[in-house]
Amino acid sequence: MNPKELTARALPLAQTLRELERYAPAAERFGLTLSAEQRERLARCRTEALQKTGRVEFGEGVLGKLILAFCDSPNLVSSEYEETLAELQELFYSFKNECRDQVTDDELILAMRLFYDRFGGSLDALAGTDRSRMYRAALTGCLPPEETGGGEEDEADE
């Protein structure tokens, strides 16, 4: 048994499914539902997103927290619920890396939600958010002023 083998064994699929089972009902009152197949696909997406972003997660992931944080957004369309969650999940891990793990999960999710609403639910715009702006929003809990062009210092590097 070596460290690589040990970390590779993390993340059983069943754990993600249990997490979805627990959190998904909270979104149903907003008309957001996930079928069993969709839940399984999302669970697989979690594994892929972690691999793609070079991260390891033990126990529960962030899908449950993402569901709770985004389910009441007026920009979230029920027909794109599964795809949106999958995309948000991957963006979350990606921003976590970009912020050098200097912000907590809750801080980052709140910042993502703020930007998501500012961009009217555009995931492309969210993905293109400058990391220093995301970092600042995560730390302060509020959106920075709209970009007017010109460079900003990269605070996550400090």
Binding site: N2, T7, R55, D105
Partner: protein, 290 residues
Amino acid sequence: MSDVLYLPLSPEEQTRFQTGLLELLARQTALYTSGQSSSVPLETAQELAASVLFSLKLSADSGPERCRELLGQGMEEALAQSRQVLKEKVRRCRELWTAVCAHLPETENAPMLETLNSIGTFWKRYDLRFFAHQLPCSIDYPLALPVPEERQGIDYLGLYLERLGIENEFLRRFRSPDVAAALRAGCPEFREIPLNLFEPPAANALGRTLLGRAPEPLRLSSEEYRALAARFADKGSAEIGPELASAARALSAHLGLSAGQGTYLEKFARGLAPRAAACAGDGLRGIFWG
């Protein structure tokens, strides 16, 4: 009963063992992030895993008996106990470092001093809770008998300091000008570069002992070189090794070395044998320093 311990793990035991380790790693990760992050970068996860494995004394070579021992004790309990052991090792290691610093050889070497200074920062930087396998200091001064690379964390440092103490104690048995002269013969910049101070004087002392002479002044004349080369000519490492080991025992007795110091000198002497056999024909330059 003991035979049963060595039987391969059953599938059920394997599952319990792997699950236990993963749960432990998950708890360690949660503690590391203070529960504020569900995920960590792969490199961090692997370092946390390496620390858990090191603390539990688990390696690729660990047999089923160690796994059963941990299953019986409980992983978390085993980890908590290992921390007490590590704390004690750190305490002993720090005492050893203090002793080594207080008994430096008169002949100075900058990398040795820098290494000891860097070890002085280890005590504050060593994180036995999450990164017990790491060695947060720079060790640039080489030993005559290097610490095996498999050693990690405080185990590496403990053995390093133990060996450095033995080497320095040996040097302190001789006059500083004699030590410096032996070193200068092979490397005039010996004070500045990362050169082991023990090897040249120790090899010369062994050579002189082999010839039935007193180890001082730690230098070999041309005639003594020739005598040693003639003695080793046509001999293999297997024959030279015991001769050098015997010289090491005689030298230990002459210097009044402790058992541990004597064993180290003998191991060093045996280690010279393959090189002595290989270059006996070339006058033994590079093994004994003129």
